[in-house]
Symmetry: C2
DNA sequence: CAGAAAAAGTAAATCGATTTATTCATGTGA
DNA sequence: TCACATGAATAAATCGATTTACTTTTTCTG
């Protein structure tokens, strides 16, 4: 019951025999090569249908230098962001006639390097790597060492040896600074749940950079840690407790989804009213953020666009060799929800909270 | 810059030449076959290291009947549940020395069948299918038609032609009914965002089945729909509005994560106090449920266990042929959070709300 | 120590496609 | 009509491993 019904599958030779042509001709028809007489094309088609023939993509790839496979390595598959990214990547690659092999490095650089090498073993045509750390991490190093064709995505900064696709973390964060300033916030806490991620670092830079341009300069506290999530709670709690009613931050900009979850839960635990006592804006939107209380204002990244661009940049390199590396910076969207409000303690002067999306570039 | 450094990779013949043995011997060493003299093993090892040789898994698999690949088809990759499932699956398979190819059917049965056939093209050793619908869906049909080795997971019921691994949806839902009853709820609404999923149907059955055993029988309303998520809001709103203060349900049991999100957001929009006016329990736990207000009580599924069992059941079938199909039912965990409370309108008699996990079997 | 049995090693076939080099018609121009 | 280009088809080589069938070497046994 678990074994094949008609023993073994038909091969290209079976098809050739039935169509009365050679295997080479069948191969041509299968790959849509022009130089086959219409008559023969038709007979091959018929034989394929009769025998229920399906090409073995692995055998097909063996002879070719590069196989029609794209490798994808992402830091995790459990987050909405990379889940959506992987889905979009799969779709884009299939549209181009490629298969995708998705693997999760589980936030381990060592595993990342191993997976990249494994992709090379599979002789993939190209690899999309969303590194754990940055374009200098173990995975990228392996890519370079093996001379692989690749595109780096998400936690990278422009300018390296590879094509890159990233959300415009810098500008989006700067925009958040502006919006908070306009809403009357003069003192903001930046919280990040990791420091190794290049994106998180860029977000800090974008925010502080813009914060410095205000008159008077916005005060920016930062609370960055690489500890396990639960171990970060005390520090957040301590900060928020100190902040209560005192002359400190009136808003938090959380630099990742996990960070947002952490900050929000500690606010609720301490009974801090959001946004009255403390506003909250998160980087990276998630479905649940619409439903929390308060609903969370967040920067949404253009995941699908990024995935599409990654594939097209990769294929451009696979199918030809562009002279220069391309660096794609995709604009984000700022979503205003309840947690984005004016500070109660100081005069307000910004936009009133509202529910809408607006691109900011 | 994008091309290989040392032209082409070493093949098994290069290794053989350098070690002064035949390719067959190298192959034996690589696969850990015993009958090779220690001396030769050592020389092969050395040659492999010297040449930086890595085996091509595709070429290796070509000659074999079944390749060391496991195919996995899941309905989506964007949800926490299947993301975690895919991750755990990958881990378990790799521990057994198999590669995994993950693909998302994007909740389409047509695509599901196509992906299954594609897995067969890849000559996978076995396939783990988490169907869109059930064990009778298009994917399972294709699996059977092609005589593939497979294990069905999640949205299936026991008893079909394939091995299955599922959460014990029936018992877990019955347990929720019991807990709600014990807490004083006499009238509950079941909300599901889809009807085609076998799991959701089983959850309804488990709940209503147990609800009938109470004295007097618990009143169970159901609101099931296959509409797009946003189109379901009006119906929920209408129900909740009617329920307000009136003699209707005092609790909602939402049958999926999406459903929970939907119900919770409509409750908040209408200003319904949870759990005082209306308690909420969801099936399928998510990280964000800790952070909402109120935090959401939920049934947590043992994802990792399910993934591990799926792989071991599959490999048992790949590497031998068990006589009977095995049906695994994994117990769930009921997590009590704020949204699980006693009804305000009637006398209470159950457990006080508390934060803890307890297995229920 | 011869001879048989067991162990170790290898040349060659194989897997299922693609690609190359070659053959075989057919058409064209001088 | 011959030489030559062109178009279509194919036999055979190839990709990089595994597996088979056979040979050689080693180890026992009487």
């Amino acid at each position: 019951m678990a074994n094949g019904p008609s023993s073994s599958r038909a091969t290209i030779h079976d098809v050739a025999a039935r169509a009365g042509v050679s295997a080479a001709t069948v191969s041509k028809v299968l790959r849509g090569v022009e130089s086959v007489k219409p008559d023969n094309v038709e007979r091959v088609r018929q034989a394929v249908a009769d025998l229920n023939y399906r090409l073995d993509p692995l055998a097909a790839g063996l002879r070719q230098e590069r196989r029609r496979i794209i490798g994808a390595v992402v830091p995790d598959l459990e987050s909405e962001f990379f889940g959506a990214f992987a889905t979009a990547l799969e779709q884009a690659a299939e549209d181009a006639g490629y298969n995708v092999i998705i693997a999760s490095s589980r936030e381990s650089e060592e595993r990342e390097a191993d997976l990249v090498a494994r992709m090379d073993d599979w002789r993939v045509a190209g690899t999309v790597l969303a590194p754990v750390r940055s374009e200098r991490g173990a995975g990228a190093e392996t890519l370079a060492g093996l001379g692989m064709t690749a595109v780096l995505v998400d936690r990278v900064s422009a300018g390296g040896a590879f094509d890159t696709v990233t959300a415009d973390n810098f500008e989006a964060s700067a925009h958040v600074a502006e919006r908070l300033w306009a809403a009357g916030h003069r003192h903001v806490l930046l919280h990040g749940a990791t420091t190794i991620s290049k994106s998180v670092r860029t977000r800090v830079e974008g925010f502080t950079d813009r914060a410095r341009t205000f008159e008077p300069a916005m005060i920016v506290d930062t609370l960055l840690s690489d500890d396990a999530l639960d171990e970060q709670r005390p520090a957040i709690r301590a900060y928020l407790e100190k902040a209560r009613g005192a002359r400190t931050a009136t808003a938090v900009f959380s630099l990742s989804q996990h960070s947002t979850l952490l900050v929000l839960s500690e606010m609720r635990r301490l009974g801090i009213a959001c946004p009255q006592d403390m506003a909250l804006v998160g980087f990276d939107d998630a479905e649940w953020m619409q439903t929390t209380w308060p609903s969370v204002s967040a920067v949404a990244q253009p995941v699908r666009t990024m995935a599409r661009k990654a594939v097209s940049a990769l294929l451009a390199r696979v199918e030809g060799t562009p002279e220069f590396t391309a660096q794609h910076l995709e604009p984000c969207t700022f979503i205003i929800r309840e947690s984005f409000g004016e500070p109660a303690r100081q005069g307000a002067q910004g936009d009133p909270p509202a529910r809408r999306r607006r691109p900011h570039t």
